[in-house]
Symmetry: D2
Amino acid sequence: MSHNTFGHLFRVTTWGESHGPAIGCVVDGCPPLIPLSEADLQPWLDRRKPGGSRFVTQRRESDTARILSGVFDDGPESGMGPVTTGAPIAIQIDNEDARSKDYGDIARAFRPGHADYTYQAKYGVRDHRGGGRSSARETALRVAAGAVARKVLGEAVRIRAGVVQLGPHRIAPEAVDFDAVYDNALFAASAEVVPAWEAYLDGVRKAGSSIGAVVALEVTGVPAGWGAPVYGKLDADLAAAMMSINAVKGVEIGVGFGAAELSGEANADAMRLGEDGRPVFLSNHAGGVLGGISTGQPLTARVAFKPTSSILTPGQTITRDGTEIEVSTRGRHDPCVALRGVPVVEAMAACVLADAMLRHRAQVG
Amino acid sequence: MSHNTFGHLFRVTTWGESHGPAIGCVVDGCPPLIPLSEADLQPWLDRRKPGGSRFVTQRRESDTARILSGVFDDGPESGMGPVTTGAPIAIQIDNEDARSKDYGDIARAFRPGHADYTYQAKYGVRDHRGGGRSSARETALRVAAGAVARKVLGEAVRIRAGVVQLGPHRIAPEAVDFDAVYDNALFAASAEVVPAWEAYLDGVRKAGSSIGAVVALEVTGVPAGWGAPVYGKLDADLAAAMMSINAVKGVEIGVGFGAAELSGEANADAMRLGEDGRPVFLSNHAGGVLGGISTGQPLTARVAFKPTSSILTPGQTITRDGTEIEVSTRGRHDPCVALRGVPVVEAMAACVLADAMLRHRAQVG
Amino acid sequence: MSHNTFGHLFRVTTWGESHGPAIGCVVDGCPPLIPLSEADLQPWLDRRKPGGSRFVTQRRESDTARILSGVFDDGPESGMGPVTTGAPIAIQIDNEDARSKDYGDIARAFRPGHADYTYQAKYGVRDHRGGGRSSARETALRVAAGAVARKVLGEAVRIRAGVVQLGPHRIAPEAVDFDAVYDNALFAASAEVVPAWEAYLDGVRKAGSSIGAVVALEVTGVPAGWGAPVYGKLDADLAAAMMSINAVKGVEIGVGFGAAELSGEANADAMRLGEDGRPVFLSNHAGGVLGGISTGQPLTARVAFKPTSSILTPGQTITRDGTEIEVSTRGRHDPCVALRGVPVVEAMAACVLADAMLRHRAQVG
Amino acid sequence: MSHNTFGHLFRVTTWGESHGPAIGCVVDGCPPLIPLSEADLQPWLDRRKPGGSRFVTQRRESDTARILSGVFDDGPESGMGPVTTGAPIAIQIDNEDARSKDYGDIARAFRPGHADYTYQAKYGVRDHRGGGRSSARETALRVAAGAVARKVLGEAVRIRAGVVQLGPHRIAPEAVDFDAVYDNALFAASAEVVPAWEAYLDGVRKAGSSIGAVVALEVTGVPAGWGAPVYGKLDADLAAAMMSINAVKGVEIGVGFGAAELSGEANADAMRLGEDGRPVFLSNHAGGVLGGISTGQPLTARVAFKPTSSILTPGQTITRDGTEIEVSTRGRHDPCVALRGVPVVEAMAACVLADAMLRHRAQVG
């Protein structure tokens, strides 16, 4: 139940503040004998790391992850190279470009849309430097842990996400192409929309504004049977995982809110026998989950991100001393936080699924 | 992490199948000295119980809850009447009208849209009688536990939900009136829509069909500071709680998916000082949560329910022996499962909040 | 972390007070397809049940366990008979002989050695009837859950316990014979001591007094590899399980406190290769656990029980109103609570091991 | 349930191997606004650190703890200095003197009495360098976390431990003086025994042997009411905490195994009213716990440590390739591991009690 721990058997505990010396995580419960080194983490971290394009924050962080425990190379005769040992895997990333001065003038103000006020209200103190613990910088560790989770899941489970709506602009469901995502700076799930979306987001960025977005997720290769009734539902775990990502305000599985407008006939996914004698679903409104347990179809979900709250336009707020002021954010920020949210959505899905896999194996063998 | 347990400090464990002898729950972690008797549970259960109108299943269950432990009346001199003792509270409801024969012909078929296939795939066996463990009958216990949670929260926290969308028919946000909910058989959050909605749902019902819906939730009286970073976020817990309810496919907090279309300026809720010197938000797009911690504003959420999968129209499916068949459901069912979902949504919110209250008290005092 | 829940993957939640209408437990996380019916529980319960001899309390309880959920008989064609379904297993035992009047005069007194004072101090209220929640009656449910755990473990794992010390009288380690335990009313691990011990305990009983004892535990058939570092150690889990049993004041693994007097040479269990090419230990001072992980040798432990605190000799105490009084216990009690503790020790060991088995399978496969 | 996490609300997760780059822990759930800096940790770490006398390992580690997160200094105007923020506190200690070559020749052998064999059997791989994860080096982090726990508990709760038995030599209960413990290199709870014990342990040390010991614990200032029935018993949590310490084989609370020889009359602690109108116990056989809940008396426990398994005398064992060999340990080790266990016992008690305090506050307020 740890507030800074996620998962039950594949457990991730994160720590660290945006402008502290470092951030880190401990991945506990990982099966042993899985080949793992920093090289397995870095490509995923690079996708999330700041400074990669003009559409993301210009903070300069190499986001170089070091593994400090839980991996061991038993030498040349073992022939295994570095593998997990079953012990907790500590991963650490130094903070390299923490310009606390950027935030000095807002140390006492509660930035609208940020967690400044609620942290102060809850704890009576807050590390205001760069948002402290509430900064999206914490999500780098989710990506690192997600990279470990992917190794646990193996290559049969393929986890992909991408931006399918940017403000008012949407990609039609039939046009969604996850293969396009990491080929464009917007992580858009369609190559076609990129020029128009870039122009749109340039406008937002130059105005010092920000915009919300929707990220779609698709996971293939999950066998039928993962997840569990009734409070351990796979979709409930996914929902919590997604909603725990900074700026997320909505989650839907399969057709989601669209199911509210469907009749029972239209919604239920009919089943037939496939050529290999295995069940085949004729549609996937359920998004790959029935009764909280995976059906073997692709897991599909959509995640709504609110716009970055850090904007140049001054907003009304108060200070912790009770003074009414206007505040704008001069720090370095993302015009659309959902972009870098794409690898985070993937990583959280990976963590949920690795946990579900181990839990399933525990009970059912 | 128990699959059939919900919550961390205010913990609810449920058990029982739709057509077994009884269903029950154990509420553990409840503070002591809270007045509690069966009379505190029954009104909430009555709202969810079947048979109350033509729009819900005609299964006849009194849903009479008995408290078997954890409550003690120390006699007349104490003057307290029955109060919680801090020990686990066991609540039990007998199944009175379990017509297993209704389901006999579908014991081997996987009903489309139901959890039949996934339970079989996971466990290699399933209690098919009335859906067994996957039946929405389990939610009666959530309502019972939610009634205990309400007592823990006290009267200052007011939890209300109602149907705001029935298939294609919506209640405009500004017309939502939670006071109307329990005065109509549709649990609609507006008296005005009732005649039209009743006619609509009668049509659905007579056609042996079903329809989805959206339930809105509003909680007032939650102080600023409940919830916790980063995996213990109040909205993440709410999302998991809602998504664990049978038939739920989507959850959004505050403006939810609408946030994807908003600019940072439009989305961030400005703050001013109220007349009493306390912070006041000028809007509530955040739905009462920032950084996973309550702001003191009303908590608002919306929950999408899919249509009941039990319908009279035959649907294509297979049996567990691998035969392709068509199946329809002749049992007693709800044309719109979201209706009886309204008290369940309220109850889950109550459980999440009681847990959050205790967790906050633990860490912050 | 639930205060009334034990275990992580094989989880037991108990509820109920000594003189309430019933007591019960919910066993969650049990693997599916395990044959299980009430007949599997009753023999173990009968060993613990009161009234079996003059050496245990004369309260008359049949301790008849009913299974209310989680088990399903899929009919004659399945050929399986009743099996677990993976859903939570609810077990219930009615209280049949709750003579609350026996305790009426001590409703306000804090009986020395009992939990009366501490429950009152913690909760501000206590169900004094027969000790309420703190009564050893709760342990019947541990025995029921332990019976389920034994089915999970299978017959290769053999769990046996017995009394090896009764007050000042000890059975020499080399004379311990667990096969003798259930053939004598004292659960003594040696047939030879029975006549003398019976005479001794008759004296204690007739004097209205009580005496402490030590129960030894031996588990064979546990493979090497169960348990986990560093806070999930198998011996740490065993220690917590044993110490959670009413009246237990000490736990030792292997040579236990004796290890404090040993040199490193004398203590370390040497290893050789067995005839089958598998490792063999030449001694078992470790009690079958090294570094918190099972070695494949027998698990051995010893558990110290204090004497029953309910005695006829008046003892000095106070009432909750602050009056100094003398109190004696006229209710029905055990002259040596450790006797009926023997099946409870076995049951807790079974629960710990079933949980360890599932946890091992989860991480290592 | 995390294998490398301890506690429920005050939660400690540790990571790191004996000869890796560093070891660390994350303390989550700590209340905010508690003054905390490295200076609060170091004195306790210095007590446990190696190299302090000829009676402990000569490994040279400064055991300098760095706090990397969860503590913030809000500047001069706040006047608070560095305080906890409610966010997870990451603590890290570099490994400075990891001479892996010392262990090179035993990389393949299973040292008798060590966890080498069980780790290999469980995981199929082990980090053999200095014992890897199973090394007692991990306990440095427990001491660091315990230092934080002491701050949570405040000065009213006084936690002291000391060696009361060294091999065959015992300190009589009435002679135990915890004030003497940190004034002698043996952490003996009596100044008088020191010369004789030093001579004895010098003999053990020079023989390349080792010896077991018993550590006693006393905690004063715990109010009545901490702990909880029935699986959250304070003594059960203490037992698990102590048994999780490397080399511990036995735990007893109060009179412990001595209770097995006592009559009910002799064991039960009588109660009277104190001059201040509060209850007073006339003895403390219970060790400050009844029914799993603290009585307000001193918590007393005794913990048995086995002798260090690393000795110079060659012992019979096998290699992981199945060869029978003899092995001795030439590395740097403690002749009596219990000595440095004293601050670890104190630290684990502090963590258990901080957790119990928060859990009590959560449920009872």
